[in-house]
């Protein structure tokens, strides 16, 4: 198959698989229908992966292909792809993670009666992300962008037994949708100025400075929404109500990566606007620290990982801000590998322990070696332990940030400092919470509820199952994806030395200098501190050492409440006033007019009965007057 065909098929195949899957009848446990649903889902992702591999094996020359789907005024919207090596690498990551998630879900949701729509929605999600990744048209990119939002809504709200799931789903859709208001407006400004919706035309168009900055800031609102950046990150931790494989999908390959990726594609424009990059940098710095600090105090395994995603995506936007889109993309790819690994492994833990709460785990290591080693590799990569994937990509980001502090980049120097310091500090914090997570879950004694223990509810799980008597590694359908993901999580960083990979991402040569010492020192300090607290006071959560800051961190700095106070409450109040005005003013005026007419008619009838003639005469005269006015107005001026 030629690359011209493989390119456009890449997003279409999973999308079609998704639509096909939605047609399947819902409501079935086992049996052939379920196998069909799984087959369609897996085939869609597998085909997408094969297509991505085909593109990778092509000659690597960038190309565009597509066809027009509509004209709106001067705009020609076209469904098509712009393929270059960087696009292909991201598409490859998306397709691989999606395939593994589909396979993993077969076992993870083995007794879910609504598996068929679930698998179809995962396919749609994948297709939508691939649409964003490959599209050469901003409007079509927006299509994928928002379809992802809808899919995340459907999938986060999938679990019927979690009372918090519907609210979390609505929150995820709404918060990202608020950001998308900016995204749509930003795109509207860009395309109306450029007179074209094609990405290549938009990038090459010479914009006026302030217009460009305004448009890019608007787009950043959408990016903040999708990529869970401060201040629109609040949906991501709540989104943990979704099934764990969905968390892997959202965090690793789709959704949150989309925002970073869009900035990457529009980077030639961002390079022209110091204000936009400065804003991005400051928000990134806040997000990095916010996410890392919030992760330190979470008791829920998945929430730790969720906050770590917020923080790690912050590293990517930080890399973009300091002028290194290549570093951002590199971190995106390594993060996709180790975060997918961590979430899928977390699913295995939850499956085995029957809970997601760290306070009820402990001592899982001997029982689940595969899961344990997945966590070790994943968390070490997350913290940036050499030579694992995260080390290399985080190092590139830090180097770029350090570079920006010397000036010479588009971003203002002070913002460069802010970014660099935040990124550096967060290395230590990341090491701290990664170590805490590992120790709390896998070491020490088990804190699982025994037969005589408290009657704990199973709090955070996805599929209906009995908690096994002794925890054990997951079945092969769930274990295999872990083993596959271990490879890139460990080794992808070394790809920075591979010339093909490096040149296509336009990464600079990796150079390990003295600069590595500082983050390594922080890493060791963070991990060591966590270990020391855990060792010194056995059986106690190291997070208690945070003291009074712990509730603050655990609640994510109360930003949910702030958001509620500043947005939800005023909108509700406004809705109340508008509704009241609509009923008591607008509609009352109409009803009043009707009532008034009726009363006037009644009184006229009464008057008519009492004094027929004079009133009738007056009415006739009035009528004549009206007709006269009409006739007079009717004469052409």
């Amino acid at each position: 198959m030629s690359v011209d065909v493989a390119g456009p098929l890449l997003p279409l195949v999973p999308l079609l698989a998704g639509l096909l899957g939605l047609l399947l009848p819902p409501g079935d446990g086992a049996g052939p229908r379920r196998r069909l649903a799984a087959g369609i889902g897996i085939a869609g992702s597998a085909l997408a992966l094969l297509l991505a591999i085909r593109l990778l094996l092509g000659d690597g020359d960038p190309f565009e292909t597509g066809f027009e789907i509509a004209h709106f005024g001067g705009f020609t919207v076209s469904l098509g792809v712009a393929i270059n090596p960087a696009v292909v690498y991201v598409a490859l990551a998306v397709a691989l993670v999606a395939l593994l998630v589909q396979i993993y879900s077969v076992a993870y949701l083995h007794d879910d009666p609504r598996y068929a729509p679930y698998a179809a929605q995962v396919s749609l999600f994948t297709g939508a992300m691939l649409l964003v990744v490959t599209s050469h048209d901003l409007i079509v990119m927006l299509v994928g962008w928002e379809v992802m939002g809808a899919c995340s809504y459907l999938l986060i709200g999938h679990d019927r037994r979690l009372p918090e799931a519907p609210a979390a789903a609505v929150k995820a859709f709404l918060v990202t949708r608020v950001g998308d208001v900016g995204f749509l407006l930003g795109i509207a400004v860009l395309i109306t100025q450029a007179g074209s919706t094609r990405l290549a035309d938009v990038i090459e168009h010479p914009y006026d400075g302030s217009t460009l900055t305004a448009a890019l800031l608007l787009i950043l609102a959408g990016v903040a929404g999708k990529s869970a950046q401060f201040p629109l990150h609040t949906w991501l931790p709540d989104a943990m109500a979704g099934p764990t494989p969905i968390s892997a999908l959202i965090h690793a390959a789709t959704m949150v990566a989309a925002g970073v990726y869009v900035v990457f594609r529009l980077y030639p424009l961002f390079e022209q606007s110091p204000v936009a990059l400065g804003t991005l940098g400051v928000l990134a710095a806040i997000t990095i620290l916010l996410g890392a600090l919030a992760a330190t105090a979470q008791d829920d395994l998945k929430r730790v990982l969720a906050w770590s995603t917020v923080s790690q995506i912050g590293y990517m936007t930080a890399a973009l801000a300091v002028g290194s889109p290549a570093a951002a993309l590199f971190h995106l790819l390594t993060h996709a590998a180790f975060k997918a690994l961590l979430f899928l492994a977390a699913g295995a833990v939850i499956h085995a322990a029957g809970t997601g709460l760290l306070s009820r785990m402990g001592g899982l290591r001997p029982a689940m070696p595969v899961t344990f080693w997945s966590f070790v590799i994943g968390l070490a990569a997350l913290a940036g332990v050499p030579p694992l994937a995260g080390f290399w990509s985080k190092e590139t980001v830090l180097t770029a940030a350090a570079h920006a502090t010397e000036g010479g980049e588009t971003i203002p120097v002070w913002a460069g400092w802010v970014v660099w310091l935040a990124a550096l500090l967060a290395v230590g914090i990341t090491a701290w919470y990664a170590t805490r997570l590992l120790l709390r879950a896998f070491f020490g004694v088990s804190r699982a509820p025994g037969p005589d223990g408290p009657a704990w509810e199973v709090g955070f799980d996805d599929a209906r199952y009995q908690v096994p008597a002794t925890p054990h590694d997951p079945p092969w359908l769930m274990r295999a994806p872990l083993l596959v993901l271990l490879v890139p999580a460990a080794l992808l960083g070394l790809a920075a030395y591979a010339p093909g990979f490096r040149t296509s991402l336009e990464l600079e040569d990796p150079h390990l200098g003295v600069a590595v010492a500082l983050p390594m020192l922080l890493l060791a300090a963070g991990a060591g501190a966590a270990w020391w607290i855990w060792w010194a006071v056995p059986g106690v959560d190291p997070a208690l050492a945070l003291g009074p800051a712990r509730p603050l961190f655990a609640s994510g700095f109360h930003l949910d409440a702030v958001q509620h106070r500043l947005v939800v409450v005023p909108v509700r109040a406004l809705a109340r006033y508008v509704t009241a005005a609509d009923e008591r003013v607008v509609d009352a005026a109409v009803e009043g007019a009707g009532e008034g007419t009726r009363r006037a008619g009644g009184e006229l009838a009464e008057a008519h009965r009492v004094a027929v003639l004079p009133v009738a005469a007056v009415l006739v005269l009035l009528g004549a007057l009206v007709l006269g006015i009409v006739a007079w107005l009717g004469v052409p001026a």
Binding site: H71, G73, V143, V147, D582, V590, G594, G634
Partner: protein
């Protein structure tokens, strides 16, 4: 004007004749129920035919000053020459999608309803609506515009809910006020310009155009409906039977927006340009007020009715920008709203009938009891909140793009606020879904029949499919409309 009929233009007359005959047959003869559907189906096939005669190159042959409208099919018979009234029908790219939509929705509604008199009324309604979209003569347009009123009144008053009489009266009186204004405008134009032919041009003085446009604006704003002239709509929708709501939202509202484009812009372009800021501002107010009010609604059908106010606000915003992009957005927004809100009314009507209540407080857990119905409702709601890839997206996104394109602080502000309205739209639809589909099933919902009957699939399937198809291929609606719109707007830029 000389008698001019293409050899196939009898099709246009047939489009009106077939449903009229059908209505008579169904009402007077003891025909089985299927007959009404058959007549509606024949009409639907007829409404599809004009596309065969579309000739994009038609415009080229007219050189520098082509007429305002070049219909694909044209039927022009003198009717009452003394009044300057011609029986002039025609189809072009602007009216064609609306005509097809009318034909389609009538078939679906006729098939869906079990009542013969109701089906007959639907067919009469169809005559009026098709006539409105086909008319190329001002007075004829007015006549058909009025024909619609009475069957709709009868449908609401005859088959509606408990408050049907008051709602029907409000509907008919409110829209009659609009009709009076329309009549004054039409008579003024015909008497001053000496012609009511929409394919010609109207030489009206600037001030007369202002006057005429104000009248037309108010008349069509009531029909569309535009805030603050919308209050007849929620009552009418809440009380109307399911098929009545579907026709009302699906095609009747479109007569307002279509009239604004074809008559308002065509007859008084300078007036339109003069009044467009007011139209734009009111449209944005409608979007925001409609969505905010929806956030507070506790009744299913009322909520969807108010959502129509918001959606039609996007359509009117597109028109108000007076750009090709904006009006194309309005055209596709019209169709999308007809498909999606039609589907929504079908679904909530069915749900209300089965559960015995439309109160959001008493409906919950639909996906436990009736997963298919819940899935369809979810699809329709997500389509209605403007999800890209489905029909609703194009109209709303490009209305915003057109407002930004129009430039200037006023229009950019309108665009920004309209985009915020998009987020509010998502908010109230998600609230609706969360209330109705999620959570544990209430006794009302548990008592509802979960399965979907064949006739329901027949009525809903095409709408679901078309929502997806138009979403993926918007060219189906907007292709070929750019030149007619440019012609309409030429007069604006001249003014």
């Amino acid at each position: 004007m000389t008698l001019s009929t293409d050899s196939w233009s009898f099709l246009l007359a047939a489009m009106l004749l077939v449903p009229a005959v059908g209505a008579a047959v169904v009402a007077l003869l003891p025909a089985p129920r299927i007959v009404a559907t058959l007549f509606a189906a024949v009409t639907f096939v007829l409404t599809l035919t004009p596309v065969v005669f579309s000739r994009d190159l038609l415009w080229v042959s007219y050189g520098d000053r082509p007429p305002a409208v070049v219909p694909w099919l044209n039927l022009d018979l003198p009717w009452v020459p003394a009044l300057g009234l011609d029986f002039h029908l025609g189809v072009d790219a602007i009216s064609y999608p609306l005509i097809v939509l009318t034909g389609l929705l009538t078939v679906l509604c006729c098939a869906y309803t079990g009542s013969r008199p109701l089906a007959a009324l639907l067919l009469i309604l169809e005559v009026g609506v098709l006539g409105t979209f086909l008319a190329l003569d001002l007075i004829l347009f007015f006549v058909f515009f009025e024909v619609v009123l009475l069957p709709m009144y009868a449908i609401i008053a005859g088959w509606g809910g408990p408050g049907r009489r008051a709602a029907a009266r409000k509907f008919v009186l409110y829209t009659l006020v609009g009709s009076v204004l329309l009549l004054i405008a039409v008579v003024t134009v015909v008497s001053q310009a000496g012609t009511g032919d929409l394919t010609g041009s109207f030489d009206l003085s600037r001030h007369l155009q202002y006057f005429v446009f104000i009248l037309l604006f108010v008349a069509f704003a009531i029909k569309a409906p535009l805030w603050p002239l919308h209050t007849w709509l929620p009552d009418a929708h809440t009380e109307a039977p399911t098929v009545g709501s579907v026709m009302l939202a699906g095609v009747l509202l479109k007569m307002g927006t279509y009239g604004l484009i074809r008559i308002g812009l065509g007859v008084a372009p300078e007036g339109a340009e003069w009044a467009s800021p007011v139209l734009g501002v009111l449209a944005v107010v409608a979007i925001l007020a409609g969505s905010l009010i929806c956030l507070r609604q506790r009744e299913l059908k009322r909520l969807i009715a108010y959502s129509s106010v918001g959606h039609m606000g996007f359509v009117l915003l597109g028109i108000a920008t007076l750009t090709v992009t904006g009006i194309q957005a309005a055209l596709i927004g019209n169709i999308a709203h007809g498909l999606i809100t039609g589907l929504l009314f079908f679904l909530v009507g069915t749900l209300k009938e089965r559960a015995g209540t439309g109160s959001l407080d008493q409906l919950s857990g639909l996906r436990e009891q009736a997963p298919r119905l819940a899935g369809l409702l979810g699809f329709a709601a997500i389509a209605s909140l403007g999800l890209p890839g489905l029909a609703g997206f194009w109209g709303e996104a490009f209305a915003v793009v057109a407002a930004v394109q129009a430039g200037g602080p006023l229009w950019v502000t309108c665009g920004v606020l309209a985009a915020c309205g998009g987020a509010l739209t998502a908010a109230y639809f998600l609230r609706l879904l969360r209330r109705v589909t999620h959570g544990p099933a209430t006794p009302m919902v548990r008592g509802a029949k979960p399965s979907i009957a064949g006739v329901e699939w027949f009525a809903w399937g095409p709408l679901v499919l078309l929502t997806l198809v138009v979403g993926v291929a918007p060219a189906l609606i907007v292709s070929g409309t750019d030149i007619p719109i440019l012609r309409l707007l030429e007069a604006v830029s001249r003014g």
